[in-house]
Amino acid sequence: MNIENLVQISETEWEIPTYTRHDMRVPVRLFATRALLEQIMDDKSLEQAVNATTLPGLVGSVIVMPDMHQGYGFPIGGVAATEYPHGVISPGAIGYDINCGVRLLSSSIELESARGEMDSLATALNKYCPSGVGKEGVIKVSLKELDHVLRDGSRWALKNGYASEADLARTEETGSLEGADPGGVSERAKARGRGQIGSLGAGNHFIEVEVVDEIFDEEAANVMGLSKGCLTVQIHCGSRGLGHQVCTDYVQQFQSAVRKYGIDLPDRELVCAPMDSPEGQAYLGAMRAAANFAFANRQLLAFAARRAFEEIFAPGKQNWHLHQVYDIAHNMGKIETHEVNGKQMKVCVHRKGATRAFGPGSPGLPPEYKKIGQPVIIPGSMGTASWVLVGTEDSMTRSFGSSCHGAGRVMSRSKAKKEVQGDVLRQELEERGIKVRAGSMPGLAEEAPSAYKDVDAVVDTVSAAGIARKVARLKPVAVIKG
């Protein structure tokens, strides 16, 4: 596919019409500038977006964000809504790391007053927030207790002293999705997750200490507790091995389901089942349980980060506390009501590498965010900026209340490993004043900033397109990676 196959709607919006390929059920709507689109053309992400349009029961368009890149089956940065309850749910369109997401905590500690402690802070965060391949978590729960985690998510953390009501109020779905069914989560998945709760893992997941570098919307930043020059903590991780196993199990089971329901797809990774089928209902319950595990996981990591802040800053500062700004998923399937062709319609919105970005007044937002819109936290590539945005009225009508989720990869992992040396990269970051704690040097190399698109260009695009509004830019000062 090339750019000539696309219809340009505006400077930041493009369409792949249904006549492009015979099996497309709906068009693809793409938010990107021409420059970002040219980068997207380098891999198979557009072909994957077209493949996604073949899912039965789709409504509107398949939406793709400017941070889009090639995944497997469904592209990263994709949003697809299927009619509820007869449309399908596709585990591959939500992703293996169910409820991979981001939590942002704010503080009133000014960087300038804390520069001397940054090294110790990075070490303390590394000590209290377990990271790395298969690493075990802050606590180990019994299988019975794990079922409570799966059913209640952050509410389980609250009951056990790891969270406050204020944390839950500022978490998507208050960190506890209804309809979670621990019974639909296999023993294998539970075995993988049981020891990992409260751990960061590896890959692109991280904990960063950042400074609020620039504020674009004073009112929204005030409401969120973000002050220029002050430290924040960003936690990016998901449901660890448990979520991966849930997706693995259901992608395997749905290989038979598509035959049973006569669904023909161009890629087996897109397998799906009608939401009102026993298979679809089982996956929905298990997916929600895995999502609750991820909410609880990020809550435990926030608890651990607070412990590190207390250890480093409590002796010398009166106000060292970390306050929750928001916690939001970017790999999730949610039953939501949206306007489609002028009609209110209940749909399942699949977001894979896309963040929910509900506009002001939307249901489910805490009272203080009702006026400004849902906070959207965009992690940057290590060493570059991260962003805080809010959802808009436009995002509700044009992208099923969704926005981008990050910078988006542009270089393959194998190429990054060849071109970047982990220890050299660490040295470079340290010279720029960013403290780095990393479990694996090859892993660090794969996540080099040069392997990603320019996050500022991605954010400028969603902002210009009107599907999110800028609130603040954050710059990293310490990075903890598995």
């Binding site: 497997y72 089956g73 391949v133 590896a202 997706c247 992608v251 395997q252 990774e269």
Partner: protein, 144 residues
């Protein structure tokens, strides 16, 4: 028999070839260990058995490699490098109702000492085991 890493933007992909299907499965497992940079203990060896039933041979490959992903995170991490694999048509096993084909594996390995980067899941993305003049070939995409 062999494998080579294929460029993939977000994840890892490997092309594997071998003279027969069981050897292809074993080579895919070794490719996984190599990609992950897995180093195992030189001490005591461990043995495990695995059986799976699938809609076709590709689903057996995904099930087999997913089993190895599972073991990476169990018993403080286990990796396997020796495999005895048998793929059977269910009709030959005498099973009345079956989804497709059966896989039986005996595998031997050791405790993982270190891993550069874990493979978290095995995908079906464009997965097709094809007969070629090199025997059998497949390209597998892993989530990392």
């Amino acid at each position: 028999m062999g494998f080579e890493e294929i460029s993939h933007t977000a994840d890892w992909s490997v092309h594997v070839w071998a003279e027969d299907v069981p050897s292809l499965f074993a080579e895919a497992a070794r490719a996984m260990n190599a990609l992950a940079g897995t180093v195992t203990d030189q001490g005591p060896r461990v043995k495990r058995m695995f059986e799976s039933e699938g809609t076709d041979v590709e689903s057996l490959l995904v099930a087999f490699l997913s089993e190895l992903v599972y073991y990476q995170e169990q018993d403080h991490g286990l990796a396997f490098d020796i495999f005895a694999l048998k793929i059977e048509e269910p009709a030959l096993t005498g099973e009345a109702v079956s989804k497709g084909q059966m896989l039986k594996v005996e595998m031997e390995g050791a405790q993982i000492v270190s891993t550069d980067k874990a493979i978290k899941a095995v995908t079906y993305h464009n997965l097709k085991i094809e007969k070629t003049n090199r025997g059998f070939e497949a390209t597998i995409v892993f989530d990392v």
